[in-house]
């Protein structure tokens, strides 16, 4: 006999349970956790290197690196001066909350003020997965062009800050910063946009101030 079962269950329910578990840990240890997402090559790791080398004078920083393969990014972060754990997804296009939960025992979270999670480079898949982070930040880079915000609305709908990276290239490319701001406003009114260059260091102070504010809020 056939039996019909009505579930109405969220498909990501198991991921969300793990995300809640992570969030509870982060809240208990008052660790500020930021999930950094972008397309491949937008400059997430370079931004993190700069962030680590400046802010580690003030905060105890740790990084979880997500990539399909290799330990390259974690090595770069370690050289910049922070503890880094690499997750290899072996073909998986995003990090999920269970992968994060599995590596958390490698950190003493009581001793970590700020934890960055660098997601797998991809503007689609990581947007749907809650990792238990306090903030979702997208990195968009000038060479990617103005069309990325309207083309990938779901990502920019769910992030609260866009770091517009590689602005040192603005004189050579047709990127329009004001248009990017308007496009972002059209998709997500509450999202901020901070123009930065990890290379020329322009704008990095604004990003560090943003982290500082987020850290203060997280300590309350």
């Amino acid at each position: 006999m056939l039996m019909k079962v009505t579930l109405r269950t969220d498909v990501l329910t198991n991921n969300n349970k793990a995300a809640d578990y992570n969030r509870e840990l982060f809240t208990t240890t008052k660790t500020l956790v930021i999930n950094l997402m972008s397309s491949p090559g937008a400059g997430k790791t370079t931004l993190l290197e700069e962030t680590v080398s400046v802010l580690s004078r003030k905060y105890r920083i740790a990084v979880i690196e997500g990539d399909l393969a290799t330990e390259k990014d974690a090595d770069r972060i370690r050289k910049a001066g922070a503890k880094a754990v690499q997750i290899n997804t072996h073909g998986g296009c995003h990090l999920d909350a269970r992968m994060i939960a599995a590596v958390l025992p490698e950190f003493d979270l009581e001793e970590v003020d700020v934890l960055f999670i660098e997601n797998v480079g991809n503007l689609v898949c990581p947007s749907g997965y809650d990792l238990g982070q306090m903030h979702k930040v997208a990195v968009l880079s000038v060479p990617e062009g103005n069309d990325k915000i309207p083309k990938y609305p779901v990502m920019f709908m769910r992030t609260e800050l866009v770091l517009l990276n590689k602005i040192d290239l603005l004189p050579y490319l047709d990127f329009n910063v004001e248009k990017a701001k308007r496009d972002l406003e059209g998709i997500n009114l509450s999202s901020k946009l901070i123009p930065v260059s990890a290379k020329s260091k322009e704008g990095l102070l604004d990003w560090f101030n943003w982290i500082e504010e987020a850290y203060k809020t997280c300590q309350q």
Partner: protein
């Protein structure tokens, strides 16, 4: 292409629920996929066929998947009118002309229901065989 991973979640949830109800073979799965959930119905259907083949013991050969689409809808926080959001300008209320809209529908991704048969059927079959 995270639809394989998403379909993996669907199969895990159904397996767990089915075990608790002593359902051993699945005949139908019904999903609700929002237009702005970032999951593609066609890719989900393809992933379903792959999992069905890999888990032949758990699925009827002709097991089907039905996908209901949840339309995207936004509501303006200023004038309270709801509107169909333009992909590029999701938060722009067409009445007020301001970025004052919030998404109220279209982000869902749910397993609505599934259909299967359980242990009891085997004993029925056995009875029928004995009767003949």
């Amino acid at each position: 292409m995270h639809e394989m991973a998403l379909m993996g979640e669907v199969i895990d949830i159904i397996k767990e629920d089915a075990a608790s109800k002593r359902i051993i073979k699945i005949d139908m799965v019904e999903l609700l996929v929002g237009e702005i959930s970032n999951a593609m119905p066609d890719a989900l259907k393809m992933a379903f066929e792959v999992y069905k083949e890999q888990n032949a013991y758990f699925f009827e050969k002709n097991a089907r998947i039905f996908i209901q689409i949840e339309k995207a809808l936004a509501e303006c926080i200023l004038c309270s009118k709801s509107y169909v959001p333009d992909n590029n300008r999701i938060s722009f209320c067409p009445v007020c002309g301001l970025p004052s809209g919030k998404i109220i529908s279209g982000e869902s991704f749910q397993i609505l229901s599934y259909e299967g048969s359980g242990d009891a059927d085997e004993s029925n079959v056995a009875h029928r065989c004995a009767d003949q």
